[in-house]
Structures are given as C-alpha cells and as structure tokens.
C-alpha cells in the first residue's frame, strides 16, 4: 500500500507539514481562517535539533501495537490504514504507551488523535505531503 516516507536530508524544518495537517483536519476550506490565532495540534510533528529535522507521523504498521493494545476497539486497521473512532475512545492512552514511534497523541477532546492519511477529511490524500515544499515527505507505493 501507499505510505508516507520521510527523507530527513531534504527536510527544511519549516513545519509546513504540521500546518497543512492541522488545516486538513480542521473541517474548514480556508487555511487562513482555520489556523489564524490558534495553537495547532497536528498529527504529524517535526523533531529538530542541531540542524537535523524530520517529520514523524503514524507508520501505519503492518502489525500495529496500538490497534492490538486498544482497550476499547476504537483503533482499527482497514486496508492498511489505521484510524481512530474518537466516539469510542475514552482516552486511556494505552496506544500512546504502545506506539514505538510516538506517533499517537492526546487531542484535547479527551480522545487520542493520529495520522489517518487524510482518508476521513476532504483532502483524500495526505495534506502534509502536498504541503511539503521540498519533497521531504512523500506518499508512495514501495515494494
């Protein structure tokens, strides 16, 4: 399946992926209105230190520990994409305990949030990839 891959050599540390992620999941069709004067809570996050930077988001693991560990059944995998039913999630954070990449996070609403490859929003394909100006984040099928 197509996945998000990160090439840290090309990452500028511009954080645009974070803004695109927050916009894509805001439900708004106007990026400025969606992001103006708010603290964003993106599902992709840049790590940076001493000139090195890279984006981290859900790897959509083939053997997803978050899904196997989820105590409610709110995290599920369908066609390789791991999504969260935030109505079912009680925010116990067992998925945060389990994810080896630190790619699942609290959302502020009580439930957790994570990258869902934009399958649930109007973008349809990952907005972070579209927003990356240097192709440091790609969405590809690899063998």
């Amino acid at each position: 399946m197509k996945r998000i891959y990160v090439n840290e050599k090309w990452c500028l540390g511009c954080h645009l992926c974070e803004y695109y992620c927050a916009f894509a999941n805001s439900g708004s069709d106007d990026m400025v209105k969606a992001l103006k004067d708010i603290t964003i809570h993106p599902r992709i996050k840049i790590e940076e230190r001493q000139g090195i930077s890279f984006a981290v988001s859900c790897r959509h693991c083939e053997e997803p520990l978050c899904v196997k560990s989820c105590i409610t059944g709110a995290l599920t995998i369908h066609d390789g994409v791991i999504t969260i039913d935030s109505d079912k999630c009680v925010g116990c954070y067992t998925c945060i305990l389990s994810c080896p990449y630190g790619a699942v996070m609290p959302s502020g609403s009580g439930a957790i949030q994570k990258c869902e490859l934009c399958v649930k929003n109007s973008f349809g394909t990952p907005a972070c990839v579209q927003g990356c100006p240097n192709k440091a984040i790609v969405y590809e099928e690899r063998a």
């Binding site: 009680v90 116990c92 945060i96 080896p100 630190g102």
Partner: protein, 410 residues
C-alpha cells in the same frame, strides 16, 4: 478444523482474529458464562462515570461473530475439559468436541475471609458489567462507600463512582496506593491528586471485622459505610485446566507458543502465565494488551501457523481525575528521576538496557520508551542523554531512523 474458545474477552477475540487470518473455513465456537456481546472490561468504570455506554464499550462491532463465522454460546459455562476425548462439557451437560481448544477464562476477584462479611448486605466486586450495574443500582447520592484495595481496580472504581455517592474511603494493606505499578514518590503524587477529589485513604490498614454497617479496622478506627466494594486482587481462573490434569502455578503454565501441557489445549490472557522479559520470570500479566496479543499468538498456532509470545512486559496506561500515568517494565536497576512542573519521570536501566519507566503527568510519546524495553535496544546504540530528556526518535542513529521513517529495509 474445529476450534473451541472458552472466554469472550480480549484473549478470545485476539485468537479469533488470528485464526481467521489463516483459516477461513474452520469452525469456531466461543463459549462464555456472561450472556453479553464481547465488551471491554476495563471500561466498566468509564461506564459508571458516563464516559462510555453499553453500545460504545463493545470491544468489537455488533457483526463481529457473523463476520468471522463464529458460533457464540453466550451465557453457557464449561464445567470440564476432557483432553482424552477432546471434548468440553457444559454445566447443562451438553458435550462439545474440539480439535484445538483455547482456555481464555480470565480471572476472578479474590475475596479474603473477613469476620462479619456475610452480614454485609451491599457488597460488590468490580470486574464485570454485571458487577458495575449492581454497584450502580446500590448507590445513592448519600452513600458512604468503603473500597478495599487501592490498586488499579479499586481506584478506577473510586473514580467511576465519585459523582454518584457522598463519600469514598479506600483501605489497603500496602503502605502506598497502586503498589504494583508505582514507586513511593509516584504513588504519593497520585495519592495527593486523588485526595483532592475528596477520596480518603487509610493505608497499612485492613478490616478486622464488620458489624452493623461499620467496618472495624486493624488500627482501631471504625468506618461506617453503606456500600462495600472488594477489590483486593484477582485470581487466575485456572480450575478447568487444573482439573483436566494441566500444569498450573499461579496461572496456567504455557510454553512460548501458548500451549499448555495438555495436547491441543492452549491458554491466554489473565488466566495464563507468560514470560516477563524484563525480569525473566514466568508470571501472570493480567493486562488487556497482553491478553489480546497472547490470544492472537495462541490463535495463530492453533490454526497451524507459528508465532512465539516472547515480548511480554508489564505495562499500564491509566488515568485518575485527569492525571495520566504510563508505566512499563520493572524497576530494579539504576534510576534516573526527574520531577518538575508537577510531572514525574523515572527511568530504570540495568545491563545497558532500559528495564522500566514511570511517567506521571507528561506521558507524550511514552511508547518510544516501551519499545526500547520490548526490543531490548542496547542503550549504547542510542543517545541516552536525549532519551532521558524526552522520548524522541532523534536519539536513534540516522540509519535506524531511515528504517523507521524512510522505508529503508534491513
């Protein structure tokens, strides 16, 4: 192939999902005493405080059994396993044959003998949906509740009912709350937080006797109460395997493939022991994620695949009144402790490996720590100073990151 599973919770569901990955033809029967669709047991406290409901606390969708062609025999109890004839017998005398059997019978509350307990009218345990419903029915806004046990179950119960009663007192024999997952300092932090909600603790104490709605404690105090909750501990439900001649220590003994010493009889979940890789000891790790993964492993092997259950560690994510706690592994070794802004962190290392950790308050990205424990990552291959500061992939080598994020194989 004819698969029979005794139990209908996480381990059983893990087994069904694993079996169906390999075998879409075999017959699967689930037999469980509780008459309910599979539900998440840890959610009963969330049910009482209104954070979930009967519909949402289902562990799998309504159509789970039909989608996976499972015959559920719910509200039926197995009374015996006969490994010689490869059958199980139900309490209604029905006999069901199996080719492969999974025992996923969970655990039952332990109720210590206490003088006068039989006179206590409103007494409850807190393990099942029926328990939760019965407790809720007994509570009134004026109820004074006495909870025996300051462990995970007792305290989750306290949180769940705190808005439904007048007062809660929690008693425990131990000198601190949550002794199975927290060290002294961590326990103190969480205790102070819970006390701010009006919940009262009486530690290093126990009930000497009950008398007319009053608990007389060992330290001489008397606590009047209306409702009693007993949450002092659980016992693995091992009787069926023991009576069939299987080996049982504290839990059912299995090999790395989740096979008991009875042929074609597997065991998984809270009833079974597993190898805790942080201590190297066989123990019962009664935790939902472990139950699922052990069940999944058993199911894979029952269906002719090969999978070892060899990454089990104790691990807990739990919260009380908005304070989140994540812990994993064991705490014997060299300690690194950091406490600031109301958050607490302890990392424990031994033999060049991360063995355990406690995070209270700031729990972000804890799974990076968990993974270091599960994978036994040598700490000299990562930047431990960075990892101590916070869980981050920056602490790994560039090559490792290429594998983790860049899709590079190998």
């Amino acid at each position: 192939m004819n698969y029979v599973i005794i139990g209908n919770s996480a381990a059983a569901i893990g087994a069904v999902e694993a079996i169906r990955c390999q075998d879409d033809q075999g017959k699967i029967t689930i037999i469980a005493s509780e008459p309910y669709h599979t539900y998440s047991r840890p959610l009963i406290s969330y049910l009482l405080c209104g954070k979930t409901d009967l519909q949402r606390m289902r562990y799998r969708p309504e159509s789970f059994y039909s989608d996976r062609q499972v015959t559920p025999l719910l509200g039926k109890t197995v009374s015996a396993i006969d490994p010689a004839t490869k059958t199980v017998t139900l309490t209604d005398a029905r006999v069901i044959p199996y080719d492969k059997l999974l025992v996923a019978t969970g655990s039952v509350p332990f109720i210590p003998p206490m003088q006068g307990l039989d006179q206590v009218e409103k007494k409850y345990t807190f393990m099942t949906l029926d328990d939760a419903n019965a407790l809720e029915e007994a509570l009134t806004p004026k109820s004074r509740v006495l909870i025996l046990g300051a462990g995970l179950i007792g305290l989750k119960c306290a949180e769940g009912i705190s808005n439904k009663c007048a007062h809660i007192t929690v008693i425990d024999l131990a000198d601190r709350i949550l002794p199975s997952i927290l060290d002294e300092r961590g326990s103190q932090i969480v205790r102070e937080h819970i006390e701010k909600q009006g919940i009262q603790f009486s530690l290093q104490n126990s009930v000497a006797s009950f008398e007319n709605g009053t608990a007389h404690l060992k330290n001489g105090e008397s606590v009047p109460f209306d409702v009693l909750v007993i949450a002092v501990g659980v016992r693995p439900n091992t009787e069926l395997v023991k009576n069939a001649g299987g080996k049982v220590n504290r839990g059912i003994v299995t090999d790395q493939y989740c096979l008991t010493c009875l042929p074609d009889v597997y065991a998984a979940g809270d009833c079974a022991e597993s190898l805790d890789i942080t201590t190297g000891s066989q123990r019962v790790l009664a935790l939902l994620p472990n139950a699922y993964m052990q069940g999944e492993c058993a199911g894979t092997n029952m269906a002719g695949g090969e999978k070892k259950y060899d990454h089990a560690i104790p691990m807990n994510a739990i919260g009380f009144f908005g304070l989140h706690i994540i812990t994993a592994g064991c705490y014997e070794g060299e300690e690194y402790v950091d406490e600031k802004y109301g958050c607490y962190k302890k990392l424990v290392t031994k033999d060049g490996l991360l063995k355990g950790y406690i995070l209270i308050g700031a729990i972000e990205r804890a799974g990076i720590y968990t993974s270091l424990i599960r994978q036994k990552t040598p700490l000299d291959t990562i930047d431990f100073e960075l990892i101590k500061e916070k869980p981050q992939l920056m602490a790994f080598s560039k090559i490792e990151r290429l594998k983790q994020l860049g899709g590079v194989k190998g």
